[in-house]
Amino acid sequence: MYGFQEQIGFPILSVLIFLPSAGALAMLIFMRGRPQLYKWTAAIVTGLNFVLSLVLIGFFDHLTAQMQFLEHTVWIERLGISYHLGVDGISVLLIMLTTLLSLLVIPASWNYIKQRELAFFASLLFLESGMIGVFAARDLFLFYVFWEVMLIPMYFIIGVWGGPRRIYAAVKFFLFTLAGSLLMLVAIVAIAWLARPNQFAAPVFDMDMLEAAVFSTNVQFWAFLAFFLAFAVKVPMWPLHTWLPDAHVEAPTAGSVILAGVLLKMGGYGMLRICLPFFPDAVSMFVPYILVFSLIAIIYGALLTLVQKDLKKLVAYSSVSHMGFVTAGIFALNVVGIQGAIMVMFSHGLLTGALFLMVGYLYERMHTRQISEMGGLAGPFPVMAAFLLFFVLASLGLPGLSGFVGEFLSLVGVFTYNKAMGAVAAIGIILAAAYLLWMFQRAMFMGLNDEKWYKSPDFNLREIGTLTPLAALAVWAGVYPNTFLDLIGPPVEKIVNDLAPYLADNGDAFSRLLSSLGGF
C-alpha cells in the first residue's frame, strides 16, 4: 500500500501544504516591521519546501499509477467530505515545479516590492499552500477549497502590488476565474449528489469513488462542460484568454511568474484529473471541438504575440499559444500526446517563469517594457543577453532544450489523432520562432539607443542565481527527458487505458465533425 506511514513515516503532503502557511502566519504575527527577518524566513520556508518536494520525488515509486503518500481523515462525515490527500507522478512533477518557482520568486522580489512587503511575502506563502493543495487533493471538496484559497492571494498580489491599471486587471482576473469557479462548484455539488450509492447515503466527494462512479450521458455532458469551462479559463483557452495579458502586465514579477508558471497549469491538471477520468462519454463528444479551439489558440495566440509592443504582454500572449499545445495534447487522448502536454506544462513553467523574471530584471534597470525603447542591449548587458537568448531558444522549441520534447510529443499525439490537425498545430512552431527571435533582435541586437545603459550593471549573482536553476532544468529536460517522462508515464497510461473502452467505436471524431458540418 501507499499510505504515508509505509512510504516515509510522516504526512509529507500535509507538511508540504501547510509549512508555507505556517511560515506566513509566523511572519505576520512575530516579525512585523523586521523586513530582513521575514524575507529570510520566507526564503528558508520555501527553500525547505523545495527540498521536501525533492524528498517526495526521492521516495516516490514511479513504477505505478497508484496514488501515493496517502492521507485520509474523515472531515465532515454527514456530507461525505474527507481530508484525503495523495499524489501520482503528474502531481509530483507539478508540486516540484511549484516549490521551485515559489522559492525563486522570493529573491526576485527582494528589492522589487517597496510597500507592504510583509503582506506580499505572506501572500506568496499562502499562495504556495493553495497550489500544492490543489495538486495533492483527492477529495473534490478539498480540491475546491484549495482552488479558491489559491485565487485570493493572487488577486491581492495583482490588485495591491500591481502596475497602474492593477484594479481593472485584478477584477478582470477575479471575474473570469470566479465565473469558472462557480460553474465548477455547481458541477461538484451535482456530481457529489448524483454519485450517492443510494438516496440515503451522504454525497460522494471522494475522487477515487467519483472515478468509479458511472454518470448518465446527460449528466456527463453538463458536468464535463462546467468543469471544462472552469479549467479552460485557467489554461487559458481561446476565447477565454483576455484576462491573461492584462493580469500579467499589471502583476508584479513574482505574480507573473507564479501565474504563468503554476496557475495556468491548474487548467491542464484539472482536465487530466477530473474531466478525462470522470466523464469518459462526454470526452468523446467534446474532443473534436476542443481540439479545434486548441488549434485556434495556438495560431491565434502566436499571431497576436507577433504584434505585441510590450515585452511582458508578448510573453503573456505567447503563453496562450503554448498552452494550446497542452490542451491539444491532452485531448489527442493518446499516451504520447498527454505526456507531451504535461511536458509542455512543465517546460512552460520553467521557461515562462524565467522569461517573466527577466522582464522584471530588465524593467528594474530600464523602467520600461516597450520593445521599441530597447535595442542593442547585448552590448551593455552580455550576461542578460545570453540568458535571454537561452530562454528564447528553449521557448521556441529548439531541440535539446525542454520546450522541444513537450511540443514534439504533443504534435505526435495530435498527428496520430488527425494528420491535418497535426500539420496546423505545427505552424505554431514557425510562428513561435518568428515572434521570439524578432523580439530578441529588437531588444538585444542592432544599435543601442542610449550609451547610458553602459553605466547600468549587468546581472548580479542574485539574478543569475534565480535563472540558473531554471536553465539547468531546461537542459536536463531537453537532453534526458526520461527522468520526467518516467514519472508521468504510468498515470498517463492509466488515464488513457481507462478511457479506451469509451473511445473504441468512435473512430476519428474529427472526421465525424467534418462530415456533420459539411455533409460529406
Binding site: L304, V336, I429, Q441, F445
Partner: protein
C-alpha cells in the same frame, strides 16, 4: 572506433562550453587555443575513422534512450558508414582550416572568444548531424546547426542588416523544418520507429501515397537548409556573417545537410518517382535561377553565395535522377573548392580593409599573389576546367542526367555550366585584373598573414586533385566503389565509359572554357561591353539585379498580410469583441446591481418581508413539485 566516434563531436562541445564561459574574462585574445586544438584533434580522429571505414568497418551504437513516451521511443545513437565517412572528410577538413584561418581573420575583434565558441558549437552540431542514427536526432542537429548559423550571421549584431539576416535565416529554415518535422512524425506514425536501419528496412511496406508525402515533406526541409528555390532567400543575406562563417557553414558544410539527408534517405526517395522528379526539377531550376542572378551581382560574396545555391541545385538534380554517387561526389568537391573560394574572397576583403564591392577592386593579382593563384585554382575547379575537381564531379552529374533520359534538364544544366564559368571569371577579372578602380584601397592592399594563406594553399590541393583522386576513371573511380555499399539497393548497374560519355565530357569541358573566354572578352579586352550589354537588355538586367524580386514578393504576399491580420485580430477580436463582451457584461451586472440596490436598504423589516416572500415561493415550489 567507438571512442573516436564519440570524441569527434565531444571535443568541440567541451571546448565550446569552456571557451563560452571563460573566454571573455580569461582567454581573450588567446581564445582560439582550445577551439583550434579541439578541431585539430577531431580532424585526426575523423581521418582515423575514415581509414577504418575504408577497411570495411562500420559502427552502429545506441548510446542512451532519449525520449520514451508510450510507444514513442527514440535513442541517442551514432551510426558510421561510408556516407558518414565522406561527410566527415569535408566537415573536419574545411572546419579545421576555417578555424586556423579565423585566427588571422578575426584578430582584434571584440567578440573573438564568442566567435570561436560559436564555431566549436557548430562543429559539434555538424558532426552529430552526420553521425546521428535516426531521423529525430538528425532533426535535432539540423536545427542546432541552424542555430549556430543564426548566431554567426548575426555575429556583428549592432549592424541592422546582420541582425535582420540572422533572424531571416532562422525563420526561413524554420519553414523548411516545419516540413521536415512533419515528415519525421509521419514516418513515426506510419512505421512506429525513426531509426534509419529500421525505417529503410520497411521502406517497401509503405504505401506509395504515404511514401510520396513523407519524402516530399523531408525534401521541404532540404529545400530550406540547402537554400533551394523558393526558400533560397536566406543564403545570400547570410553573407552578413564573417567570411570564415560563409566558407564553413554557408558553403562547405551546413548547406550540404539537405543533400546529405536526401542521400541518407535514398531508400525512401528511390521508391517515389514523383518525389524524385520534383527533387530533380527543383534542383535544376535552382541551378540556373541562382546562376543567372550571380551573373550581375557586384558584391564578391554575393556572387559566391548565388553560386553556392546554384551548385547545390546541381547536387539535387543529381540525386533526383538517381545519380546518388555523383551528387555526393560533387558535394565533396564543392565543399573543398567553395570553401577555398570563400576563404580567398575573405583574404581579398581583408587586404582591402573590408571592401566587398568588386566595382572598387581590380588589378590585385600582383599585390596578393597567393590569394590570386589559389582563387584561380578554385575558380577553374568550379568552372569544370579539365583535370580539376569540379570537372569530374560536375561532369558525372551532367552525364547521368543526359543518360537518364532527362535531356531537357541536361540542356538547362549545361547552360548553367556556361554561366558558372562566366560569372566566376567575371569575378576574377573584376577583382584581380585590369586597372585598380579604387586607388586608395589598392595602395593599402597587402597579402594576408601566413595563418590565413596557409589554409588557402591547403584547400587548393583537394580543389585541384580530388577529382582525379576519387573520380578517375569516370563512373568507376574510388568514390564509386567506396559509396556503393550505401546505395547498393538504389543504384543501377555500373556502366561503361564509352564514346558517348567521352563526347559529353569533352562538350561540357568546352562549354566551361567558352564561358571563361567570354568573361575574358567582356571584362578584360572590352571593358565597355558590360555596360553596353546591360543597357541593351535593360529589362532582363534589372530583373537579375533585383533577384527576381523574390524578397519583395514574400513581403507583399506573406509577411505584411500576416502582420496586418495579427494587428486586426488583436484590435478587433481581442479588444473589441471579447473584451467588449466582458466589459459589457460587467456594465450589465453593475446596472442590474443598481436595480436591486434599493433592496439592500438596511431596513430590517424589509429584509424580513423579503425572507417571508421567499419562504412562500419555496413552499409553493415544493408543493407543486411533490404534487
Amino acid at each position: 572506433m567507438k571512442a573516436a566516434a564519440i570524441l569527434i563531436p565531444l571535443l568541440p562541445m567541451t571546448s565550446f562550453i569552456i571557451t563560452g564561459l571563460l573566454g571573455k574574462r580569461y582567454f581573450r585574445e588567446k581564445s582560439h587555443y582550445l577551439p583550434v586544438a579541439a578541431v585539430a584533434a577531431s580532424w585526426l580522429l575523423s581521418m582515423f575513422v575514415i581509414v577504418q571505414v575504408e577497411r570495411g568497418e562500420t559502427l552502429s551504437w545506441q548510446i542512451y534512450s532519449w525520449i520514451a513516451a508510450g510507444n514513442f521511443n527514440v535513442d541517442v545513437g551514432i551510426q558510421i558508414d561510408q556516407l558518414t565517412a565522406v561527410m566527415l572528410l569535408v566537415v573536419s577538413t574545411v572546419g579545421f582550416m576555417v578555424h586556423v584561418y579565423s585566427i588571422g581573420y578575426m584578430k582584434g575583434d571584440p567578440g573573438y572568444y564568442r566567435f570561436f565558441a560559436y564555431l566549436n558549437l557548430f562543429m559539434f552540431s555538424m558532426y552529430m548531424l552526420v553521425l546521428a542514427n535516426n531521423f529525430l536526432l538528425l532533426y535535432v542537429f539540423w536545427e542546432a546547426v541552424g542555430l549556430c548559423s543564426y548566431l554567426l550571421i548575426a555575429f556583428w549584431y549592432p549592424k541592422v542588416s546582420a541582425a535582420n539576416a540572422g533572424t531571416k535565416a532562422f525563420l526561413v529554415n524554420r519553414v523548411g523544418d516545419f516540413g521536415f518535422g512533419l515528415g519525421v512524425i509521419l514516418i513515426f506514425v506510419t512505421l512506429g520507429t525513426l531509426n534509419y536501419t529500421a525505417v529503410f528496412g520497411h521502406a517497401g511496406d509503405i504505401g506509395t501515397g504515404t511514401l510520396t508525402a513523407i519524402t516530399l515533406l523531408l525534401f521541404v526541409g532540404a529545400v530550406g537548409k540547402s537554400a533551394q528555390f523558393p526558400l533560397h532567400v536566406w543564403l545570400p543575406d547570410a553573407m552578413e556573417g564573417p567570411t570564415p562563417v560563409s566558407s564553413l557553414i554557408h558553403a562547405a558544410t551546413m548547406v550540404n545537410a539537405g543533400v546529405y539527408m536526401v542521400a541518407r534517405s535514398s531508400p525512401l526517395f528511390f521508391e517515389s518517382t514523383t518525389t524524385m522528379f520534383i527533387v530533380a526539377l527543383v534542383g535544376t531550376f535552382t541551378a540556373i535561377f541562382a546562376a543567372s542572378i550571380a551573373l550581375v551581382q557586384n558584391d564578391i560574396k554575393k556572387v559566391l553565395a548565388y553560386s553556392t545555391v546554384s551548385q547545390l541545385g546541381f547536387m539535387f538534380a543529381a540525386l533526383g535522377v538517381g545519380a546518388w554517387v555523383a551528387g555526393l561526389f560533387h558535394l565533396v568537391a564543392h565543399g573543398f573548392f567553395k570553401g577555398l573560394l570563400f576563404l580567398a574572397s575573405g583574404s581579398v576583403i581583408h587586404a582591402l580593409g573590408g571592401e566587398q564591392d568588386m566595382r572598387n577592386m581590380g588589378g590585385l593579382k600582383n599585390k596578393i599573389k597567393i590569394t590570386y593563384w589559389t582563387f584561380i585554382i578554385g575558380a577553374l575547379a568550379i568552372a569544370g576546367f579539365p583535370g580539376l575537381a569540379g570537372f569530374f564531379s560536375k561532369d558525372a552529374i551532367l552525364e547521368q542526367v543526359f543518360l537518364g533520359g532527362y535531356w531537357y534538364f541536361w540542356i538547362v544544366a549545361i547552360t548553367t555550366s556556361f554561366m558558372t564559368a562566366f560569372y566566376m571569371f567575371r569575378l576574377i577579372f573584376m577583382t584581380f585584373h585590369g586597372e585598380p578602380r579604387d586607388l586608395k584601397a589598392f595602395g593599402h592592399a597587402h597579402e594576408s598573414p601566413r595563418v590565413m594563406w596557409v589554409p588557402l594553399v591547403v584547400l587548393a590541393v583537394p580543389s585541384a586533385l580530388i577529382g582525379l583522386a576519387l573520380g578517375f576513371p569516370p563512373g568507376a573511380g574510388h568514390i564509386d566503389s567506396f559509396l556503393r555499399p550505401v546505395f547498393e539497393e538504389v543504384l543501377g548497374a555500373e556502366h561503361h565509359f564509352g564514346l558517348l560519355e567521352g563526347g559529353l565530357m569533352a562538350f561540357s569541358a568546352l562549354i566551361g572554357i567558352v564561358g571563361i573566354l567570354a568573361a575574358w572578352r567582356m571584362y578584360v579586352i572590352r571593358p565597355d561591353l558590360p555596360v553596353k550589354t546591360g543597357a541593351r537588355f535593360q529589362g532582363a538586367y534589372r530583373v537579375l539585379l533585383n533577384k527576381y524580386w523574390i524578397d519583395e514578393i514574400y513581403f507583399a504576399l506573406i509577411i505584411n498580410p500576416v502582420r496586418a491580420l495579427s494587428r486586426g485580430l488583436w484590435r478587433f477580436v481581442d479588444i473589441n469583441i471579447i473584451d467588449g463582451f466582458v466589459n459589457g457584461s460587467a456594465l450589465f451586472f453593475r446596472g442590474v446591481g443598481n436595480l436591486f440596490r434599493p433592496a439592500h436598504s438596511g431596513k430590517v423589516q424589509s429584509y424580513l418581508f423579503t425572507m417571508f416572500l421567499g419562504l412562500l415561493v419555496l413552499l409553493a415550489a415544493y408543493w407543486i413539485l411533490t404534487l
